[in-house]
Subunit: 257 residues, 2 copies
DNA sequence: TGCGACTCCTTACAACGTAAAGTAACCTTG
DNA sequence: CAAGGTTACTTTACGTTGTAAGGAGTCGCA
């Protein structure tokens, strides 16, 4: 399920994201938890169980009930926003530009790729509206700082930033969700593919004739790295070659300007 | 929530997708429903209510209970697979190549874009593993048929097909989920942005100094088309300029080969 | 005519997010 | 120092979800 960001009270959400709460002396028992503790616990749970984690599970990990979380966080949606932004703090704030923008963007993309495989649930948070948290800003700032050195105008840069983002996210989805789905059903990628395609070929024997261009696409395949699972092999190679094409496009834009 | 494809019995799923059931004479009451009727109804419901539609809602639309659907379809996951593939039947199977591959790919991308805005729930079906249905194949076949005419080898084409796909999907997500979220909360994009960014600037006044490159990115903005909502304006322009860069990259690859 | 396969319904259950209300701890004020 | 208000956290409960289980009625075939 895709979780939509930011549906609650805007002020409360933004204040939580930027930790703008004033820690004044208050009556009542000492808080045994904190927003940070809850968000960290939730990220751990989500890393293990995926986006379909439950408030009860997060509470349990902290030795509390699910309802205890509602003292600190308005609801699950807001918690997801906080998790999303918090996780992004893992990423570098800037990249060296000694060799120009292209290696830097490549590094950025690879970091994002690995980041998404560490936190697959991130890919299920809706990208429709930005969470508007400090670390999400920082990640995009890092990419923008690289691309600004191309000298391209903002108009073009916005499209490029978007394209790079979409590409990385999409490519990461293909791999990390494949892994997650395999984990969920207990079967690896190979088994999944094998079972599926065997039945498919049995039911539709002249598949290759019906979709000849897909067959052409499958040609020219390099030997498979036995270290990696099947789908991952493909995905990694397609990621590299896709990114190359995309950056060639950027280079063309730079050359023209 | 992201719905993972293909977790059930592979044979049953594939047979349903390719409608490979043999319609033999069978005892028992005449079926009042059909897989097609259920899938169509489910698509209608999902178009209106989003991916979080319920089996009960689909049943109700057909004048049945939720459990009646389970006679035709193994579960909700499989139904989503069927919806996914069925919806893709709306898309063209081929594109004219009179003006070369570039206008054709552009058409393909725009068709996908519009398709996704018609069926926003499509973007929430996990892309990790292909559904392996006939229409999903046909859509990719159409794109492959265009790109094959570039003469590039399969190795490079796979990366390009992936990149174009990811890009279109990502760009469409930004818009159509924004619309969906607006519909869900009842507030439009403008209100959302306004409330959010007002609070943000109040809490963090020197945002521009903290993220100077993002500020550069926002510069050079063209006048807004008053016909379209705020976010959509941006998204459409970024879509066009991002696609342009991507296709420039393809052109560079073609020129080099 | 009856058997068995079939469609569809009712009922039921476990899991979910979270509303409501209660209990106990603690600071502030009289 | 006691009273009162505020807070942290729990228990209980509700509505919604996907779907398992079992039963009622319908039809083809022996």
């Amino acid at each position: 399920m895709v979780v939509y960001a930011g549906q609650g009270d805007p002020r409360r959400s933004i204040e939580l994201l930027w930790r703008a709460s004033v820690a004044e002396k208050r009556p009542g028992p000492k808080p045994g938890l904190s927003v940070d503790a809850i968000v960290d616990a939730a990220i751990e749970v989500a890393d293990e169980q995926g986006m379909a984690f439950s408030m009860r599970a997060v509470g349990e990990r902290l030795g509390r009930t699910a309802m205890a979380l509602y003292t600190y966080v308005p609801g699950k949606n807001e918690l997801v926003d906080l998790m999303y932004d918090r996780a992004m703090a893992e990423l570098p704030a800037s990249y060296p530009l000694d060799d120009g923008w292209r290696p830097a963007v490549t590094r950025w993309a690879h970091d994002m790729w690995e980041f998404y495989s560490r936190h697959p649930w991130m890919l299920q948070v809706s990208q429709a509206r930005p969470v508007l948290g400090p670390h999400e800003f920082a990640v995009t700032e890092a990419l923008a700082a690289i691309l600004v050195t191309t000298g391209l105008p903002g108009r073009e840069l916005r499209g490029i930033v978007g394209a790079v983002n979409y590409f990385v996210r999409g490519a990461a989805q293909t791999v990390s969700e494949a892994r997650a789905a395999g984990g969920a059903t207990g079967e690896g990628d190979e088994e999944w593919w094998y079972a599926r395609s065997a039945v498919l070929l049995e039911i539709e024997p002249d598949l290759e004739k019906k979709f000849p261009m897909l067959h052409v696409l499958e040609s020219d395949r390099e030997p498979v790295d036995p270290e990696l699972p099947y789908l991952e092999n493909d995905a990694v190679k397609n990621f590299r070659s896709g990114l190359k094409v995309l950056l060639d496009g950027v280079e063309a834009a730079v050359a023209k300007s």
